[in-house]
Amino acid sequence: MSADRTPRTLLLLLVAILAAGPFAPQWTLFLLTVALAKGLVVLGLMMLLRCGLVSFGQALYYCVGAYAAGMLGRLYEVSGVLTLMLAGMAASAAVAFVLGFLLARYRSIFFGLLSLALSMILYGLLVKTETLGSSDGFNVLPSTLFGWRPADAWVRYAVLSVAAVAAFVAALAVHRYLGTPLGRLAPAIKDNEIRVEYMGASARTAIHVKYVIAAALAGLGGALAATTVGHIDPEMAYWTTSGEFIFITILAGTGSVIAPFLGALIFGIIQTVAFDLSPNTWQMVLGASLLLVIVFLPEGLWSLFKRRKIA
């Protein structure tokens, strides 16, 4: 068995982003930060997909994270970015802990449909909540780092750095988790759940734990997205947002914790380029790429890297 190269690669990527950031044009910083935020959500979806579960409602936790961060600013004028991120994670994890008791009993299409229903409930609630701006949402306070606000030209870079460090820590933690017995249970649950139970492990508990972790990651991603974009609205919980996350998960594949971030970045690039070239057919380009990946790379884009290593 070869040495585990993932932590080193992650560290190299982090250093590369931090070093190249000051020289990169502003729009690429924005693109990269959004990709990191979405990558965090996808990282959680990847953990669930390894058990064979597809959540069509992960936007629920993305939205909870974003609104938790936004409301802290709106109600209590909290602007510290670390507090906001932790709040987003905690809020999503708490919701997922409760809902997990219900959802951990569901598999395949029913898991997907129930999570879809739950995210649509939040959407319906937010659209009708006038104090939170109904369907328009509201603007998020500009955030600070330990009470310090960088000069305007450096804001994007500062947010990117925070996002990159957060993504680095999250990816490393998930990577470690995947190596633990509980983490290694995932493919076994996907293959044959009853045998997992004969082994003495509880599939339901394992799924519940993964579900909460995935939600915490989505909440973190949501809080980051709120800080980056500066505006949040109920669309964040709509089913098309969940669809986008699943799209990226399939595009990326479940081969490595780096894959979700790579997938999110590629998704962002396809979206930006396709939207620039022809605003009316960018969804067509996305749909076609998803089809091609499902047909020709069933293990996602990450399998391209794996094959090269073996060769």
Binding site: A117, M120, I246, L291
Partner: protein, 298 residues
């Protein structure tokens, strides 16, 4: 009293619309075990085809009463072109894949069709109000309803009874029931399952397109029309039980009445209540109200 009558009438009209929009989804799931996201695209395709063809025909001096037949014909035309192409060209090569992966494939197709619609019909809204206004309206107590709504109800009843009759009393229907119960045994008995799939996908999509076509006169036909229909019809068929025909009818009636009651009495919860019902049903009867128990596979 008057409000209660209004709730009932609105609920029935809304339920009729939901049933037509959703029943094809449950048929396709029952036979093919596909949760079909492109269903929303066919709804939108039906609406666009109906609006443009009917608008054109009326411009050519066609008598207005013929427009109802043209709405139906437009839905039929667009489905017969697009649905077999999708089933033969793409879906039939994917049936070996996992249920969830096939769902994602239909999601990809939905994204593609969404933009294909924009390419064909452009992004500006289409209107055809003639079929809606033609029939006039009737009064119940002090409330006025256009007669057109009754057409919607008639379409729903006709498609529900028609489907019921087809499944129970025609050769194709009986073959379909066999495929629903056991695909492999049906295949062994010499049923051409591939042809049944093609028929089911086309027919299920046609029902969605009819739903869209008959809704077109009541709304402005704009891009994104099918997006909400997808989750709404998911909700309806999940409540009734995926693959169950009476289930879809019951689901439509429940969602229709619940929504119209909340619109009248508690408009703040209008949207969310549908999904709440869906989540509650899934929580207590995961396979829907009309469902058959399924053994766990070892």
């Amino acid at each position: 009293m008057e409000q209660l009558v209004a709730v009932l009438i609105d609920g029935i009209i809304y339920a009729a619309w939901l049933f037509v929009a959703a029943v094809g989804l449950t048929l396709i799931y029952g036979v093919m075990k596909i949760v079909n996201v492109t269903h929303g695209s066919f709804y939108a395709l039906g609406a666009y085809a109906a609006a443009s063809i009917t608008g054109w025909a009326l411009g050519q001096g066609m008598p207005e009463w013929l427009s109802y037949a043209v709405l139906l014909g437009a839905a039929l035309l667009v489905t017969l072109v697009v649905a077999p192409a999708i089933e033969r060209g793409i879906l039939r090569h994917m049936y070996v894949k996992d249920e969830v992966v096939i769902l994602l494939i239909t999601y990809a197709l939905f994204l593609i069709l969404e933009d294909a619609i924009k390419l064909v019909w452009g992004v500006s809204p289409l209107f055809i109000a003639e079929p809606y206004g033609l029939l006039g309206s009737f009064d119940v107590l002090d409330l006025t309803y256009p007669y057109y709504n009754l057409i919607l109800v008639a379409v729903a009843i006709a498609s529900g009874l028609g489907l019921f009759w087809m499944l129970g009393h025609t050769r194709t229907g009986k073959l379909l029931v066999a495929v629903i119960h056991d695909t492999e045994v049906s295949r062994a008995m010499g049923i051409n399952v591939e042809r049944m799939y093609l028929f089911t996908f086309t027919f299920g999509s046609l029902l969605a397109a009819i739903g869209g076509a008959f809704t077109a006169p009541t709304v402005s036909v704009v891009p994104g029309l099918g997006i909400e229909v997808i989750v709404l019809s998911f909700a309806v068929v999940v409540i009734g039980g995926l693959g169950s025909l009476p289930g879809a009818a019951l689901g439509a009636v429940i969602v229709g009445l619940v929504r119209s009651a909340t619109i009248h009495y508690l408009p703040q919860v209008e949207l969310f209540v549908i999904y709440l019902v869906m989540a509650m049903v899934l929580a207590f009867r995961p396979r829907g109200l009309f469902s058959i128990a399924e053994a766990r596979k070892i």
